[in-house]
Symmetry: C2
Subunit: 318 residues, 2 copies
């Protein structure tokens, strides 16, 4: 795929993505009436619970305070974070580590910069004791209330609370599944035709990779891509929803690294517009060079890996 083709494809994705706002709104049954009010909510430091063990430098936190009576859990948790983040952090803004995934939160958009997962045949194995229906979407109280998204922000917006770390990737323990329901792990996604369809296909595709590869590393996040308007200039434009002005990303990315059983590494990189996508469109249509995503997201993915040492990128030999 030449650079020019890639560029054209991205511009097409970008343009179509904005049409997506229109197609997405047919889902909207109720107008957002509370919006844009930065002012009326008081500076309620009282409701911000700065949990012990949470802030490191104010921006790096652990999801769960380590209980004093279980010293071993610290070791377990740290080593799991080390496994998940084996190939580097894409960025270090407001990092939050959960038991089975790691997240970086963007306080301006109220949507994560990135969410990092490590999948193996074991971690995605179905466990009958884990019930997704028991999980509730819940605000993340480790985030200052000024920057915290709430269920009320999504209500009536027409957008789904779309998982970045998929619930289906974390079913070894109920706690792991529960933790994917923090609103820090959600982004406003078009429901029918995207979150419930093509995006879900991509999530299932990533899980299926564990049949072939013993280790799969997956980084997921939002993009806010520019689009050329009639005046010939490029603009970034995205909707914000709810009283906390949660950003509706124009696109979402997934960058995946697969380890083969003989230690080779392959990478795949996808960008999907946040809109209804035809079911017939193959996922490979959404493959883009990882550099494209890095430039747009302001992040460096898998930076501990020299890209020219990878065996394959997007199915092609490097």
């Amino acid at each position: 795929m030449s650079s020019k083709n890639v560029m054209s494809r991205l511009l097409v994705l970008s343009s179509v993505g904005f049409g997506g706002y229109l197609t997405g709104t047919y889902l909207e049954r109720k107008k957002v009436t509370i919006a844009g009010d930065y002012v009326n909510s008081a500076r309620s430091h009282e409701s911000f619970c700065s949990k012990p063990g949470l802030p490191i430098f104010g921006t790096v936190s652990a999801a769960t305070p380590i209980p004093a009576d279980s010293p071993s859990s610290a070791v377990v948790n740290v080593s799991r974070v080390g496994q998940i983040m084996k190939y580097g952090f894409p960025g270090l803004d407001n990092v939050r580590s959960f038991d089975d995934y790691v997240l970086s939160y963007d306080r301006r958009t109220r949507v994560a910069h990135w969410v990092f997962e490590h999948l193996t045949p074991q971690t995605i194995k179905h466990n009958d004791a884990v019930d997704r229906a028991k999980c509730d979407f819940k605000p993340d109280e480790s985030i200052h209330p000024f920057f915290r998204s709430l269920n009320s922000d999504y209500k009536g917006s027409g957008f789904d609370r779309g998982h970045l770390a998929a619930a289906g990737n974390h079913r070894q323990e109920q706690k792991h599944c529960d933790q994917t329901f923090f609103l820090t792990n959600m982004a406003p996604q078009v429901g029918v035709g995207f979150n419930r369809d093509k995006w879900n296909d991509l999530e299932r595709y990533v899980r299926k990779l564990t049949k072939q590869y013993p280790n799969v590393y997956c980084c997921t996040g939002p993009l806010y891509l520019p689009r050329r308007e009639d005046d010939g200039k490029l603009y970034v434009k995205y909707q914000v929803i709810g009283s906390n002005n949660v950003a509706v990303p124009t696109h979402f990315y997934k960058i995946i690294v697969m380890e083969t059983s003989d230690g080779k590494l392959e990478m795949e990189s996808f960008v999907l517009p946040n809109q209804k996508i035809d079911n017939e469109t193959p996922l490979t249509m959404f493959q883009v060079p990882p550099e494209t995503v890095e430039r747009a997201a302001g992040l460096l993915f898998f930076d501990k890996l020299a890209r020219n040492k990878l065996a394959k990128i997007n199915g092609k030999k490097v």
Copy 2:
């Protein structure tokens, strides 16, 4: 000023700000022709100079590597950063410390999140040996090339390279003045009527505060404010310029804390739309509650100060 009034004022600022894009373009003599090309620039790690002493955790850096032959400069520099940042860091993403100001860089927009300065009657005193004309706008090579803004991004865009830390605040040494010309300290600003006029008035106002207050702390940065469109929904929309897609902020803020000689603290907080502003409009028209800026920017300003312990906010007793 009631919350409602503040809100109305902010919405007005926001609306007007978008008109500003139109009024701003009369300055534009040449269309931006290179744009949106995330792809064609190669992943040129070679041109990224990771200087010794620069990255701490990959995102916190010192502007100048400390020369081995001057061990005292480390002490001086660290203590100056401590002075400047006395009342807390607004955020910790990609922090970069220069000799006389501190900056946090947003790799996605290619514009700083915030720039922090400490002004005293001494630091702003005119020094005949310091010549602004000797300073050149220069790319900041401590930033990875994927996220670095260049002079070519601004060329022909119709926007000024607007200083966030004002050059006029740093004239004790030529080096201090020089360092304000790194492009990490620049944002695309409307020239006539804004950067060269009302924004400049605000900068001069901040300097003048040192006549009354022995210590003045000033935090400056961009905002990307949402605006309600005809469909009743709120959208964030901003132009991006050049091949690196440098964001054109819709607004800029300044949050200032002044120490009185008897140790009292006062705060002022301004938001100006990035557009031509009538010369007659008094600066006080642009005062907003600091919380408003915090929510919009995703930052907490002067968080070591309890806001209810301040003597005054925006000229009014707290």
